[in-house]
């Protein structure tokens, strides 16, 4: 069986050499080329036609995401695995948008990288375990939508206060606007949030958006 051809695009020399040694040691795969910036990465991809490109996202000249975009346009049969040291879902989104089939944190175990290479070479997609956890626990998902779970509808005044809260007014401003005391605003706010089982202003904003108050 022919070995999988791997192109290694990583600007940090020591890391690149370490990866190369480990990949060459693994069965069924071999590093056929190296690149230390984004431009070289896609030029070598065209020239060497590897099966999989390991692409560092932060590289000089052309960053990894843009190099990935170019490769997916010019050589659609080549799969790209994005490599990054940043624990931020934004990088994951950026890589997937650019057309990467896999995404692996540099801190992940090497076995995961081998898994990733084999999976994407077969046409699958791969996200390392730590990054999967990031998506599941991303703050946007934490603010899961809740609603009138307690079955007690809001009073008219409470709706008024909640929608002003959602539109960015402070308690003091709401008090001035409705000509009531700050204490009253606070108690309307607390009661409404209790009724709707909302724990924070962020959840109030989500709820208000759902109700069309914003």
């Amino acid at each position: 069986m022919e070995k999988l051809k791997i192109l290694l695009a990583e600007d940090h020399r020591i890391l690149r050499e370490g990866l190369r040694r480990l990949i060459d040691d693994a069965p069924n795969m071999q590093v056929v080329g190296e690149a230390d910036d984004g431009v070289t990465a896609w030029q070598k991809t065209k020239e060497l036609e590897p099966d999989v490109v390991l692409m560092d996202l932060s590289m000089p000249r052309l960053n990894g995401a843009e190099a990935t975009l170019k490769i997916r346009e010019l050589c659609p049969q080549v799969k790209v695995i994005a490599l990054t040291g940043h624990r931020a879902t934004a990088y994951l989104k950026q890589a997937l948008r650019a057309g990467a089939s896999g995404y692996v944190l540099k801190q992940a175990a090497f076995d995961e990288l081998i898994d990733a290479i084999q999976t994407v070479a077969k046409g699958g997609s791969y996200i390392d375990r730590a990054s999967q956890a990031l998506i599941v626990h991303s703050p946007i998902d934490n603010v899961a939508f809740k609603g009138e779970s307690q079955g007690k509808p809001l009073s008219e005044r409470e709706v008024e206060v909640m929608s002003l809260v959602a539109n960015g007014y402070t308690n003091k401003e709401i008090a001035n606007k409705l000509a009531i005391s700050v204490k009253t605003v606070e108690s309307h706010k607390t009661n409404s949030m209790q009724k709707l089982d909302l724990k924070s202003r962020a959840e109030v904003v989500d709820y208000a958006r759902f109700r069309g108050w914003i």
Partner: protein, 467 residues
């Protein structure tokens, strides 16, 4: 007839004035009412002596009064005039004399009149004159610009300081074709603001960028109030010097912040791109060592310990870099950076706090905000989360980031103890307050507005307009 005369004498006696009758040629009194004695202090008998009037008028008034009376009498004309007499005690008494001229059957003129004591009025007038002279002196010499406008907003009067500041004199304004405001505020926006400010006449101060006659730029600040008759008075000061100092201070502050941020970015990159990469390489090396077949158990254990230590080391380095200056902020922008900060906060800084993050208007990752705004907002959120962790006992902190065509806004609200924000900001300077002041400074430098409201929890609202 008798009743009438009683009524008449009552009336005459109640006046603060003297009813009199005199010969039209000699001006000798033939009758004076009893009030005369009270007002000037001379006995009635003395009044009826020849030349009494002439001898007791004020020396400065004697000649013109005599001439005026003589002339009017010769023409048989009723007349009235104001003059001074010297009272018995030497004091000056002002009189308003109303005189009617009658011709006797023998053709001689006869004078009848009433002298009203107007001393009080004259004193009040004198007082008023002194006051207005004082006001005039102040008006002329005070280093504050004063400008009166009529109800239509046309300039009626300006003082010397106004003339000095702008280089236009009141005469120039009067002979100027069109509106002087157009000269002072050539910029259309400034001009409209100035007009609005004049017609609003709120009494509050507002700074304006204005132009002097010689073309130089003058920064002025104005407060305008309406007077009761619909006219208005504008009080202004030349604040060019202050404005220059403020600008200079702002520039320095901006440079300081930029230098600070550059340094942090440099360190962060160094940690992340250099040390971080070495650590990743080190981990890979350890992995490949662990793959060597038939290693003794002690070596396997030692390798796994080294791997764990390196991983922890790498996490710490990553954390330091994130705190100094997150790469994601530079590379991907504010929204991903705040999202990461919100997620990492609970894990890295404070297990008791959960940060709920929520954003709108950032759907297109290529539409980045101006970089200064991104950094300013990021630092404000970082500081606000630090405060919530240290001072508030909060459990949940919301970070809400919203952007539309005209502005970007971030709200940070915690459910903690809260404090009296107004009192706090004027209280003693400690690190907490310095932090808030720093946030405020940064937001203002970016041209934004910083609001804090604290009671049940603390809410910080930062709004930066996007032009």
């Amino acid at each position: 007839m008798r009743e009438n005369s009683t009524l008449y004498s009552k009336l005459v006696n109640s006046l603060d004035g003297i009813v009199w009758e005199a010969d039209g040629e000699t001006f000798q009194f033939t009758f004076v009412s009893p009030q005369a004695e009270k007002i000037l202090g001379y006995p009635i008998k003395q009044w009826l002596e020849p030349n009494f009037w002439r001898d007791h008028t004020h020396p400065d008034d004697t000649d013109w009064c005599a001439a005026f009376c003589l002339d009017s009498t010769q023409r048989r004309r009723d007349h009235e005039f104001e003059y001074r007499m010297i009272a018995a005690d030497g004091s000056i008494v002002w009189l308003h004399d109303i005189v009617s001229v009658k011709t006797e059957p023998d053709g001689r003129p006869c004078l009848r009149g009433i002298m009203l004591n107007i001393t009080k009025r004259k004193r009040a007038e004198e007082e008023l004159r002194k006051q207005s002279e004082l006001l005039q002196k102040i008006f002329d010499n005070i280093p504050v610009m004063v400008c009166f406008r009529d109800a239509d907003g046309n300039v009626q009067l300006v003082n010397r300081e106004w003339e000095r500041t702008f280089g236009w004199t009141l005469d120039d304004i009067e002979s100027h074709n069109g509106d002087i405001l157009t000269e002072i505020y050539p910029d259309a926006v400034n001009h409209r603001q100035a007009r609005d400010w004049i017609s609003a006449a709120s009494g509050e101060w507002k700074d304006f960028r204005s132009k002097a006659r010689d073309g130089s730029i003058v920064y002025t600040t104005w407060a305008i109030t309406h007077l009761s008759n619909g006219t208005s008075v504008s009080i202004g000061q030349n604040v060019t010097e202050r404005k220059r100092n403020d600008d200079e201070r702002q520039r320095l502050l901006q440079r300081l912040i930029t230098a600070h941020e550059d340094e942090r970015r440099h360190l962060s990159r160094e940690l992340h791109d250099n040390i971080g990469q070495y650590l990743s390489a080190l981990l890979l090396g350890l992995e490949s060592l662990a793959r060597i077949p038939e290693l003794p158990t002690s070596a396997v254990n030692q390798l796994s310990y080294l791997k764990e230590t390196t991983k922890q080391f790498e996490l710490d380095v990553h954390g330091f870099a994130l705190e100094l200056r997150p790469t994601v902020l530079d590379e991907l922008g504010l929204e991903p950076a705040l999202s990461t900060l919100a997620r990492e906060w609970g894990r890295r800084h404070d297990q008791r706090i959960k940060v709920a993050f929520n954003s709108t208007g950032f759907e297109n990752p290529n539409e980045r905000l101006p970089f200064d705004f991104e950094v300013a907002i990021y630092r404000v959120v970082q500081e606000a989360l630090t405060n919530a962790s240290r001072h508030s006992n909060a459990q949940i902190v919301s970070v809400i980031l919203e952007r539309n065509a005209t502005r970007v806004r971030v709200i940070i609200e915690d459910d903690g103890d809260g404090f009296d924000a107004e009192q706090f900001m004027s209280g003693p300077v400690d690190t907490h307050r310095l932090g808030l002041m720093g946030m405020q400074e940064r937001v203002q430098l970016a041209g934004g507005e910083f609001k804090i409201d604290s009671g049940a929890g603390t809410t910080i609202v930062v709004t930066i307009p996007l032009s």
